[in-house]
Amino acid sequence: MRADDKTIEATLAPLFAAARAEPSSPPLSLLSAILADAAEVGAARQPSPPERRRERSAGVATFAGVLGGWRGLAALGASAAVGLWIGFSADLTVDGTSVQTGSAVASALDPDPVEDFFDLASLE
């Protein structure tokens, strides 16, 4: 550093010292806004609840796809309902590959659970 540079630096030193001593604290409103931004940016990075529900629905859709889509899933559900009906019904005669039912049993059968599964298939 040149001699006159040193002189200049020494001359300016009191001014810089006064500037350093002056408080430069940000106002409270600015600090709270900065922290609000931090919270907002952080919250935006977290997965939202609707996204988690869509992830669960995606899992069900994958399972349905393994079975051949919603029709396959509906057929499985229908088979399960018929099996349940056979198991609880006292008037059934099971012969080979067919199920014989009395008219009373047939009228007592509530077709809605089976139809509901086909209704699901129609929504595809």
Binding site: D5, P14, S29, L30, L31, L35, D37, A38, A39, G42
Partner: protein
């Protein structure tokens, strides 16, 4: 982004510890209240993981210096608040991708703040800068010992008349007390270039203030 300058959401003042008017401490202030890694990279990692206390610590450490630099670069407290909020917002956004190899958080923030200030000044009309740099009226020939605040105001006015990079180098070196290596990182230049900027800036500053040596308490030698 949330509210701009002048429309910030309010936090009850009972949450803030105040030592004296103008000095505000944001809690938690020190590593005593924090858990886990309190290095800068660690704090950013914790914040990115959802730890808001890390954000408070980072704000307490860096917001005052960012604001101080912005205020001296722009000469306008409201503009300085906008720049400070923007700089910290960029830190929050980059937190998950922070690479410690890029240097310290403080240096990175100084660089972002500098660029924001210079961009803002480029958009201003030149007459605005001249207005900020005007000297206060004074009686011809009068020798008045100015108070420290007046000396700071005179310094700020003289700094405002310097080219941006000289001004920035002087503020970082002599007010923010950063080393030449850090200043070189902020300005994206060499240490030798920083030394040259500082030397030229000091000479220009001294020449600008030469006519007010007595008032400003200049001493020889």
């Amino acid at each position: 982004m949330t509210a701009r300058a002048g429309t910030f959401p309010r936090v009850p003042e009972s949450r803030w510890q105040t030592r004296s008017p103008g000095a505000v401490i944001v809690e938690p202030m020190t590593t005593q209240a924090a858990t886990g890694d309190d290095s800068e990279a660690g704090l950013l990692r914790r914040y990115a993981g959802g730890d808001q206390s890390a954000a408070r610590t980072l704000t307490a450490r860096h917001a005052p210096r960012v604001f101080g630099l912005a205020r001296r670069m722009l000469g306008d407290p409201a503009e300085a608040e906008d720049v400070t909020q923007e700089a910290m917002l960029r830190l929050w956004r980059i937190a998950p991708d922070w690479d410690p190899e890029r240097g310290s958080v403080g240096t990175w923030l100084y660089r972002v703040t500098s660029n924001l200030c210079i961009d803002r000044k480029r958009r201003w009309r030149e007459v605005t800068v001249e207005t900020v740099a005007e000297r206060p009226d004074e009686a011809p020939g009068a020798v008045v010992r100015l108070e420290a605040a007046d000396r700071t105001a005179a310094l700020d006015a003289a700094l405002a008349r310097l080219p941006d990079r000289q001004r920035l180098a002087l503020i970082l070196r002599h007010i923010e007390e950063q080393g030449n290596v850090e200043i070189a990182a902020v300005l994206d230049t060499s240490v030798e270039a920083v030394e040259s900027l500082l030397a030229r800036g000091r000479r220009a500053l001294a020449a600008d203030l030469a006519g007010r040596r007595s008032e400003l308490g200049f001493t020889d030698g």
